[in-house]
Symmetry: D4
Subunit: 252 residues, 8 copies
């Protein structure tokens, strides 16, 4: 379309409807605009069917509902992360079909068309039960983005047999998201067991020298298994988007 717009402009120059000076100004005047447009277009190409995402922390229930209504009016899907219980109830009042996940602190409203399907399943594996809210945030996000999810829970390395017992499930995943607090050791073990991409998520689980997730963050950045990548502390959402970038590029 942008190309069409420039073609029109050139056509007008060719047939004398527009002089060179004005054409030059027109081109000079809107590179950003046209860039913006192009980017939006591209963005849309990316997003076709994906839900809009709202980061719920620090927004009032009223603000979240107002944004949600504007999105839903276009028939798009909606995913709210870090949502408070109160905001969740406000949303449900407006959208009876919305799925509230209190563990993941998410609200998900499906769009009129389903998101494009990712290629392969994504395994979400946690070291301890306290890591579950982050794992659920990842799982809900993955599902909302069109991915199949396998959950493997509470397989910390202090009981190494527990993770080894799940090796088959891990080996068959297209991407593995490994979530751990405290010593952050699980991604190193998993990274050695599978050849698929491994995304590590440190959690703020722990106390004292865990420093709200700094200990597992550093451990994961220094994983002795090569090729493990890391996202921010407690960022289940980011890990899911990263995994979905992989499964959807696999699909293309």
């Amino acid at each position: 379309m942008k190309r069409e717009h420039v073609r029109d402009l050139l056509q007008q120059v060719a047939n004398g409807a527009l002089d060179v000076g004005n054409a030059l100004d027109a081109l000079a005047f809107e590179p950003a605009e046209s860039l913006a447009f192009a980017t939006i277009d591209h963005h849309r190409a990316l997003r076709q069917g994906f839900p809009e995402v709202i980061y719920g922390a620090g927004k009032t229930p009223e603000q979240i509902c107002a944004i949600a209504e504007r999105i839903a009016a276009h028939g798009d899907g909606l995913l709210v992360t870090r949502i408070s219980a109160e905001a969740g109830e406000s949303l449900r009042a407006t959208f009876p079909d919305i799925e509230i996940n209190t563990v993941a602190r998410t609200a998900h409203l499906a769009g009129q068309q389903p998101p494009p399907a990712g290629s392969g399943t994504v395994a979400v594996i946690t070291a301890g039960t306290s890591d579950l809210p982050v794992a659920e945030e990842a799982a809900v996000t993955l599902t909302a983005l069109g991915n199949c999810v396998v959950r493997i829970t509470d397989v910390g390395v202090a009981g190494i047999h527990r993770v080894l017992a799940r090796r088959d499930e891990l080996a068959s995943a297209a991407v593995v998201i490994v979530i751990a607090g405290m010593d952050g050791a699980l991604p190193s073990v998993v990274g050695g067991l599978v050849s698929a991409p491994v995304i590590a998520v440190p959690t703020s689980v722990g106390y004292g020298a865990a420093f709200q997730g700094v200990a597992p963050l550093l451990a994961m950045l220094n994983s002795c298994a090569a090729g493990v990548t890391v996202v921010n502390i407690d960022n289940g959402f980011g890990a899911a988007v990263a995994a979905s970038r992989i499964t959807h590029s696999r699909a293309s």
Copy 2:
């Protein structure tokens, strides 16, 4: 092989050449070995044709050469990272065909069989020229692991047009590795431009409050572009392995 070993053992039990007690002892004697077998086998499946990797830092030229000779004797390829100039020369004396990259500080000796080809190209993009050693380490590793590489250099965000000018190359990459020191801002811009997986590598380029790479590391972990993953400071090798995990799982 190990599987064959167990099969032989069972065969001997089946035909009476070995009694149950001794067979049990043989198996008991090496349960880990048999576990190791499985893992090695799997590992080999992964590694079929991939070079062995030696982390050169803190190893003497003699140690590196000794390991290299043992690997080369099996016909396997070899990649040494963080190699000193002196160790590089020692290796070249033994292996005249070895490729020494002084910018990347790597030595690469191809194996008897080529590594399996990854699917799609990997773009390696840097914010500044000082990030080149890390970028070269990534590029050499990617090539050694069977990937096609596109290099995009010196496109920091302070001259935003420079990165925008390379948008087509970025958009066509299967994976993008973004390398930046100082403010670590480039992955956020790139992450917004492409839908492919983005792996960010902070570098120790900078001074003062860059804190040897902490500043870009934190910026990248907090990227406002969703789904950007991060590896350790200056870890071009790790980013390349992570990218290769993606391109090779795409290939399967």
Copy 3:
């Protein structure tokens, strides 16, 4: 006034109404006072018409009201920052005309004479909507100090076209205040787009490895755009005063 006071004293010495010894004691008794005089005078030159500023955090509503009444009694304007809702209400009870901004957490009471006008507009640009309280604190302060403000909101670098689309507004500003949390990348992009002074404000928006604003603070201190300066985390007030120092020195 103080100058007048010293003049009076000297006058009395000149006309014999005061002897040298007593005059000396009077001056000796208040050498600091006289120094203070000079400084106050200069300060007053600076402050002519500017409001007094009260940092509201950690002060009780009663304390704030007491200070405000003393200031208002002299006809001076008043700006309270980091004010609680409760303190805001107390102030409104006494000063019905006071402007309370609940987003900026400020209260502003105009003085009897308007503040001197700064030269040129100040653009206040934010990466995300969560940065708004800091941006509003900056904007309210700028206005109270006699500046024209242009607000540009939610133009984070992950959607680079959004900031590019506002380039004209940025280019015409005398000073640009750039406010961002998380990766703190926006000042680097803006610093490359404009030649005017750029003041960066990191915010505590984010979680985990954002470390309450440390991540964007470090990124901004290491901005790859030369000549970007930085203020404390969430310090919209300080950025506004810094900008006002520039616009008012331009005006002189």
Copy 4:
């Protein structure tokens, strides 16, 4: 030039020398280029007569000389910062007129046209003699960018009379750059004495709990004088560019 190039192209379309399709391809082939054009043009507007700057740290003498020759060939001026003694000598061999400042670790080659003059003088004030290299880097950069510089040296706050004795010089400056290590206290005192913009530069002078400049950096970010802005540790260059952004926007 680029504008001319587009005008030529449009002219050819207008007079039929180029058909619309080919013109479209030509433009499509270089949209980024044309974007770059705008930015470069703008940049040039900024830079008209300003020297190109090379960050010398981590570059070999050969690399620096090669870049310098390319720049000098266009008649542009050149400023190299953080240059080694060896690289300085190499440059002098090629450019006998280049000014090497061994304290500032800079090399400056004037361009064919002088840089546009900034409005007002910039005062560069240091707490101790050990801060001189940073001060000199700032002063050399300021001069290269067309500014008048006043140096005030060794006026740390432990001898408060020293800074008070220089109040007149400070009061008459358009911008004040305050450079201090250790306790970083000087900008707070200076910020209270002048109404002009104050840019603080922490230095890595000190030992132990100075943490290579972290102590003064934090002190400056928390200055009790409102409106003090800060740049990276030891970043005399950045402070000078920030000051020059102010003096040159004053000039416009």
Copy 5:
């Protein structure tokens, strides 16, 4: 048993009830499973009579009660650490015999068989009265794990005679757990007085530069008494388990 299982399998191969291929598959199919089994067995050997431990922080009273009931149904003992007052009351409603220690924030339910007795007493020594909650957590855990405990309280090094007065008790202990906040100096003194193993626990007691236990943690890691080991901040439980590892290996 596992050994028996493999023996059975081999027996079947020997007598032709199972052919080699199927036996091979059976072995290949369950290495992890059988490993898991072995580990559990071993674990059980370790745990024979030891209570199950639940980390109470971040679990609801309902979750804790549900887990507790499942454990108690097997006749096993139960130790809950970091339990809230509310969860404690819920547990008491179900288990009237449970021992709630409000200082230690623990709940302990004895199992049907007593835990195996450790060899020797464990001294738990604190620098100040504020360290008592951590000391009590250690003492309760030690008792639950079958150890004799001696408590020595409030013998900080600023009154060095206090600790010297308790030298005999210290000298007769099999293991000494030393708990201190603030300067973390006590383990260095105790480590010089006794030849037994010394386990240091930093506490979050203190304020300001104590940084929630970082100060004593670092002091303890750098103890000038050789052979002092350290656990996480406030980790009385971990110190007790470490001590119990020693007393129970002494017993074997």
Copy 6:
């Protein structure tokens, strides 16, 4: 007393009531006790008339009252720091004469004999009004320990004339306690104005990069005025005890 005990023992040996072997055992049995004795004695010498101090944070009102009653029963004075409002009221119920200072968060009960008087006055000087709670804690402690106190408030260095105006009071003090948050610059200025001992107290006043007092702590440790010593963040009590150590050793 203990001395008497040893004398008795020796007397018994001298008159044959105790043989040498038993006397040796008796002495050997209580070396720590006798050491304790010496230390207690010395301690008493130190403490003659000084109040006992209770650190109130983390103690219940009941605990504080119980300790207070035990101390008061001996006629000793009592100083409670960091006391809660609730605990203060409990104490007042028992001790109607106790002085509660709600700003300092202290409770002080004079003993039957006054504390020995320190030599010279102690100046307590603060940079801002928010530092007052720490200053009051210092002032109350100083008074309770027998010192004369001069308070100088709100003389931060951004208005340098304010501190200069109080130079005479500073110069006449035996010890100066300087309390400041944010940039922690005041001790450097004061340290240059007086030759008396200067004790700096960083406060947690400020936000963002003040890091709860780390910024002024580091600034003070790096004071450019030689011979400034520092205590923990917000530790008005510790500074007062340090000052009192000086004034009481001056007195001896």
Copy 7:
């Protein structure tokens, strides 16, 4: 000896050669001395046959030799840690029988009597080959202190089968010292496999976000295996002494 001294003194009192007053003074004069005596005696009991240890870092070869000669003159053994190559050669010149270990950077000279034997073997296990210097320091120290050592090398968790293959050796150890850099994950796995005491040693192996050993230190302090204790970074010596405290108390 000291006991003898006191006995003499008492004897003199008993036979009237010394009066009570003078005896009292004599005892009062040297309580510390007598304490020192006790401590030295106890210390000696501890040390009977153990070598004296010299921390070699920061001492000149001359200083080390001087100390060594003084120790050897008493027939005691000697262990020097962190010794330079140069100091090692100096020692060998004087003591031809001294054992220099260049990997461990230790020198060991056996005493005239062997050290008392510890009970049970100590396993020293490392994650990577780069951890060997720390492991050797531990092993040499253990041997010098009379312990049997089993070395298990290069069994990092990224190849989990490697550590599992050594389970029997681990299970039979009285104490396990686990040495790892980077992610510090190995102690968590080992702690889950064995019931013996586990001492973790973080190493400074790694780069970037390993922060010279901080990453594994934090991971180990937060180990998900209960009862793992930790020593300082690279402190193989301290871990060995801690292990020896256990094996020698087992022996008693």
Copy 8:
């Protein structure tokens, strides 16, 4: 004198030699100047006979010699700290009588008049022999400032009897400077033994989690002995000046 100057001025006004306007200007014109003068005067009063101090780090031998010659020309004494061996030799060439202390890294040249004597001795006590350079810097500075020094060396708390044995020397000191690295525990023990002022100096002795002196710095700031003050890491000079401020104010 200043008083005289003002008196003269007033006298001139009184007798008509100066009119009021000019007198007012004269007073307004030089408050800073006269302040500076006063401060210098005061400073001189302080400094009468004290040596000038040069911080030698980062200064060339030439620079140091030039400054030294200027000072010596006035007959003043000179103390250079942190001096290099090379600079020391240069100084000795010019000043044959200068005292070079290679352990303390100081050079001291006595002035024509001796410094005023401090009141009482200053004890300088170190935990280990590696702390000696810092202790010597303190001792040399103390002597140069006119103080008597007692050195107590190598009395770390792991052998608590060593410090107790020196109690008498500690008790008789007017000020105690306690120097320790690693765990920084010694000041807490000493602070409990003496009632005199205690100044703690953390040293950078140690490795790993000692973090170049951060561990003892934090321990000392959190000393459980009340009234211990702290100076910067390795700052023997600063501790000596602080002690000298006490002994010289005692003397007045």
